[in-house]
Amino acid sequence: MNGWTGHILRVDLTSKTFKKETFTEEFALKWIGGRGFAAKILYDELKPGIDPLGPENKFIVALGPIAGIPAPNTGKAVVAGKSPMTGGYGDGNLGTRVAEHLRKAGYDALIVEGKADRPTMLYIEDDKVEFLPADAVWGQGTYETNDWIYAKYGKGVGVINIGQAGENLVRYAVVRSLEGRAGGRTGMGAVMGSKLLKAVVVKGSKPIPQADAAGMKKAGHDDLREVHRIDKETGWSIQSTNGVLAWCNEVAALPVRNFRKTHHPDAWKVDGERLNDARIATYGCPNCTMRCGITIHDDEGRESELDYENIGLLGPNLEIFDLPEVGALNYLCDDYGIDTMSGGCVLSFYADAIEHGAATGDYRFGDAAGSKKLLGMIARREGEIGDLLAEGTLRAALKFGRGSEAYAMQVKGLEVAAYNCKFIPGMALAFGVSPIGAHHKESWVITFELKSTSRESYGREKAQKVIELQRIRGGLFEYIVACRFPWIEVGWDLENYPKYFNLVSGLNWTLDDFWTVSDRIYSLIKLFWLREYPQTDRKLDYPPAVWFDPANADTEGPIAGKVLEYDKYDGLLQHYYDIRGYDKRGIPTRATLERLGLAEEARAAEKFGSLT
């Protein structure tokens, strides 16, 4: 079966056993890899209602048919499990050499089950699997853990690991790799921690089965050079993702002061120009053509690798406009293994709750030293407040009460990324219908909203665009497993991806074939949510209430006096459901499920929740 190794490695930490399993061509073609494999495996194997931080949950690393093969930006892996943040399906992707090494070891996915009896490092080298003690680095941050592993095996191996946040079951703990890579903000670091799994190290040496290896090698190498050339020509990497910060500030889309404000006169101090000026190094993922990890010295002289989401949510959102201070908060998140987005939102929520009398404490917006201290308390679950904030904004709001849930900036329990949608209906919808909770990786429509339609519109065209982007970003790139940046930021033709897929698989797929797979995966994930939340309704797809609150409207600037409107948002949501073939609760109808080849999965779901 060219394009896939045809094997999954299943590891049981409880019994310290493993087995090499084979999957069928039908499974491969229906789910492709990455998110598709992860969603299907979790749907089939997890009993609804299990504790995501218990041994019954599974931690999955899933790769795609082009993962690890030299071609534009293929050095990425998907990590997945039931999310401790949301209780629903959770995943994320990160750049890591594991992508290449696990494939070369002969596997398209790794499933980790059970729970170890002591801190453990899983070492995989081709057909060998070892359960090694990790007591020496348990309690240490991700940087020290990485160094410890590199000292043993060299820097060429694939490594994913967790910091103290994952060990202490912080619900938004991430999985980390390389200098500044992180993924699985749905709490996949906590899932690893719950299994006492400190790290996974992989070394593979086998060829990856490919139908036309010579053709793929030529196309891959040619295209690596070409995308790199285009990036240099357009200059995208000069400011990388943080180029968008200044623009968000201009169009009133920047998160400031827990999203209360949409722009700030000091935002320029942490924008892309200043980041580029402060650059001391640049890092990227394996096979990267346009490295996005701009690295600076933080206020303690440590290297901190920054991007827009880190800066937006740990900077302006906390009203901190000193780049080295923002760098320090980012460094701490990376070292502890805390998701920078949720971490920033949790801190801003706490400051906001104190300001509105829902919580007590001396923490304030603009307090960099206090932010550092709190991140440490969260990572260690230290004290009552550290322990509570480690639960995320929604659970903290339920504890604080006094209406604070309205400004807990989350959807389905997962905090929003760094785009303030106070008056951006389409992007608010994108957050609302993201299948893992609020995340920008699924769909990003702001420029479309401003350039090709009107910001005020709640029209069907916005729902259609959200779906179009979900099929590509949350679909194709998450199951073929490659970074979306070449396509999305420098215009690398999307047709290149079926080209790579066909070269490795020997098939003749078009983009339209992939869109069916994307829709199938999104619908399956919806069924996962239905099983966990049988009483689910469309309110689960609503963005935070504060974005609808007229009292929260800007008093000056481009959107003065404007906020989202409930009736209109609900209409936009209905457009989305209608196009997708979902019912009024946002659940795929039986007809939709059958059209997508999910009749069997639908029958399984009906044991827990109803279908229409």
């Binding site: 200059g235 995208w236 968008v244 201009e250 722009h263 920008h440 702001i446 350039k451």
Partner: protein, 75 residues
């Protein structure tokens, strides 16, 4: 009349400035400013006036802020 033009991201290196004020005659349109600041018309871009998307033929007013940005796609 006086307006401010701001470039975003790599346009700063490509077109040689970050932000500048311009004295332009009344009736100047958003589109014509692209030539005044020598922005390459072939580059995909989004232009906003005072934070809102602007039509090419829209006439500018005293004190306007015109922002010319590449089309970012949210990473």
């Amino acid at each position: 009349m006086r307006i401010t033009v701001k470039l975003i991201g790599p346009f700063i290196q490509a077109f040689g400035f970050s932000e500048k004020e311009l004295d332009v005659p009344s009736g100047t349109t958003a589109d014509s400013v692209l030539d005044l600041v020598a922005v390459d018309r072939s580059r995909p871009k989004i232009v906003t006036r005072n934070g809102r998307a602007v039509a090419p033929g829209e006439e500018l007013r005293q004190g306007d802020r015109l922002v010319i940005s590449p089309i970012y796609s949210g990473g």
